[in-house]
Symmetry: C2
């Protein structure tokens, strides 16, 4: 096993994907320490199931978060949302996360458990009170083995935190459930003559859908950003990343994405006022690209996924229309099973374009719609439909293109509106059914 | 093979389901003749692929139809919708249907082919022009082998029509694609001292979703009904039947449901004016129950389905809310795979209730929501969630209940609104993926 420090973690398909998508090294933001241990939520007695991130920089960090819109919000979502609102995004210095149990639909006892996780973490880290966000992921409807979690927190906080690559991998591993590899991305960028770092973690696999795609994700930076600017950037970037991916169309009770900026790398503070408009724009672009990279890993690891599909909808009347059409195709079971079967059944793409819930009667005009497969090896695109008329498709060529793991599908709506959106999805396989027919056992 | 007259038809899983759900006999409406032959669309050279229904009663029949809302409407949908609109529902005397090819996204040639099917049928049957509706079902994007279809029409119309049970079975069989059994339902009812008959046919299997559920369906009666009344009844009944089922959530380019009433059994004409309010109400109830029976057969035969699930949402603020919640659960892949795996994972039910797109913030209140499994063998219900608090579930009992093919799930929203809706769905199996990963070959 190549993942140092987490040799006890048994991934389901350990895995070609792990070796391709998990970094072997990384440059991490200054002033954070992280880690992951097994505390006793996961029943195998060894897999990592408790993760912690903490701001070590002397100053209070800025934070922003977006949460699931599901009506049945899990206890940790309720607690974290209340806390970040009360603090207006100032002084969130740590995140405590357990995997193996979602602490969702667990009534009053569940709320108390989530609150206790915050209290104990703040106490052990000697934070001011209410400085910690809490997240949980796993099965819905069972109470947490809270004693195991609460006694795990000091063990993790006092002896297992650090800022090495191995610590970040352990942290990313400890938030996984049915994931086949930990999702960790790092990046450096320049702004105003300073070098800043970004690190991002996510867990995904099941229940991945537009509108708060991954179960859990967070990214941290050592750039100095106001809570208001961070909040605006987070919403923009999540809309174009975690809310533009689909694995199975279901939205979970626990979905949470958090961004934390501690300013440890110094430089001028970035706000969303006109005075720092240029810096804001650059930071927004950096973070959006970064969030897309992280969100795409979630699709790569979609339950049972054998394909990674990028759907680009061009020349729509609006960004919203473009995204609606792309999402409709990305969520079509018939399209996704055809991709699994390497069947160039473009009729199913058309069909899903046609029933997408676009805003106006001019948004989709069959006689202006074109669809192509674009091979990811740089070879020529294969036109399937041009201005509503089907092309005579070279099935051999289509089949060749569909042998690749990666595929780009370009849908040109030809409205003259010029707006576009990307959406990332995976195929729908036998393995998905196997995993989800037997998740709890 | 037990289906007399269609011994050449090879169903995919011929089948326990066929022996349970295909009637051995029936009492059919007066004044209609029907039939089905192989004309040369399906490539095996023998399966029935052309069906015809014709009104033999001397008077012109009333007709009503609902069509797919997909933007890419197949050629036969465009032709039939235009025709029925122009005729205002009067004088539609026949329906011609081919299976094996959807004549969808086929451009100008496709429209001409659909029109030619109408012209040739009217001519052979000696109808006034524009008296025939046309439907097609099958693969999208290929032109019809139109010569085979057009030369099949006289063969079918002149030598293969009748009103026996065998003729109806042949007609129901000739509209099938991936269906594992033909869907045919008959019923008699009393109204104003007269006995009337209803016969209904449908084809389903793939692309079954709310909003025009089945690919094709039609029902005919010998009761006398005005086009306006028939139209109103059709819309009401389809909303509560074909638009309240889900197999895979995709909506096809070809979905069409047609109702035809020829009045051959005599009696007073039923209209939707106040003078025949009572008769109208009775007829609407009869037809709605009948349409539900037919629509449920489509779910029974969902691609790869091993379960039949009735979702009842009770005490909603509105019928629309109740249906929205039921539809959200019925379309959740995670719920459907759990049902396939016989896993009482009620968290996924909650989750899908929580992300359903209901109309107001009072429509779903977690602390008032209850969920139960109701066994279809009459034994006691199993409570999973009561007023938002999870019950301690007897997993053995849950597993026992999930062994049954049929399952009722009752979701009580507890809003005090008192409205309810039923929704029917199937599970999501390995077989679904197999069928749809390789549909075209």
């Amino acid at each position: 096993m190549y993942v140092k420090g987490v040799t006890k973690q048994s991934f389901r398909l350990l895995s070609d994907k792990a070796s391709r998508f998990v970094p072997k090294t990384g440059v991490y933001p200054k002033g954070f320490s992280v880690g992951g241990i097994h505390c006793g939520v996961k029943k195998d007695g060894k897999s990592l199931d408790l993760a912690l991130l903490k701001n070590d920089f002397g100053k209070e960090a800025s934070a922003a978060a977006v949460f699931t819109t599901n009506k049945f919000k899990a206890a940790p979502v309720q607690v974290s949302a209340k806390l970040i609102k009360e603090k207006k995004g100032f002084g969130i210095n740590s995140i405590i996360i357990n995997s193996g149990n979602a602490n969702a639909v667990t009534g009053a006892r569940g709320l108390k458990d989530a609150e206790d996780m915050v209290v104990v973490t703040d106490s052990v880290l000697e934070n001011p009170s209410n400085s910690t966000l809490v997240m949980s992921t796993g099965v819905i409807g069972n109470n947490l083995p809270i004693d195991n979690v609460l006694s795990g927190i000091p063990k993790l906080a006092l002896s297992n935190l650090g800022n090495t690559h191995e610590h970040w991998i352990a942290c990313a591993t400890a938030i996984c459930t049915t994931d086949t590899f930990p999702k960790l991305v790092t990046k450096q960028f320049q702004l105003n003559g300073n070098t800043y770092a970004l690190a991002g973690l996510a867990k995904g696999a099941g229940m991945i859908c537009p509108n708060m795609a991954t179960l859990l994700g967070f990214f941290v930076t050592d750039a100095p950003v106001t809570p208001s600017a961070l909040n605006q950037i987070l919403k923009y970037s999540v809309d174009r990343s975690f809310n533009s991916i689909s694995v199975d169309g279901d939205m979970s009770t626990n979905d949470t994405i958090v961004a934390i900026a501690n300013g440890a790398a110094g430089g001028e503070v970035i706000d969303n006022t006109s005075s720092s408009a240029e810096s804001f724009a650059i930071l927004q672009q950096e973070i959006t690209g970064f969030a897309q990279q992280l969100a795409q890993l979630v699709v790569r690891d979609g339950e049972g996924a054998t394909k990674f599909i990028n759907i680009l909808v061009k020349d729509a009347l609006s960004y919203k229309d473009a995204k609606t059409v792309a999402s409709s195709v990305a969520n079509s079971n018939l399209f996704k099973t055809a991709m699994y079967g390497k069947d160039a059944n473009w009729g199913r793409i058309l069909c899903a374009i046609g029933y997408s819930n676009v805003s106006t009667s001019e948004s989709i005009i069959p006689s202006k719609t074109s669809v192509s497969f674009v091979p990811t090896d740089g070879s020529e695109e294969l036109k399937l439909l041009v201005n509503g008329e089907p092309e005579t498709v070279d099935e051999e060529r289509a089949s060749e293109i569909l042998q690749h793991e990666d595929l780009d599908i370009v849908i040109d709506l030809g409205t003259g509106g010029g707006q576009q959106a990307n959406f990332w999805t995976c195929d729908f396989s036998h393995e998905y059914v196997t995993i989800n027919g037997d998740y709890r056992s």
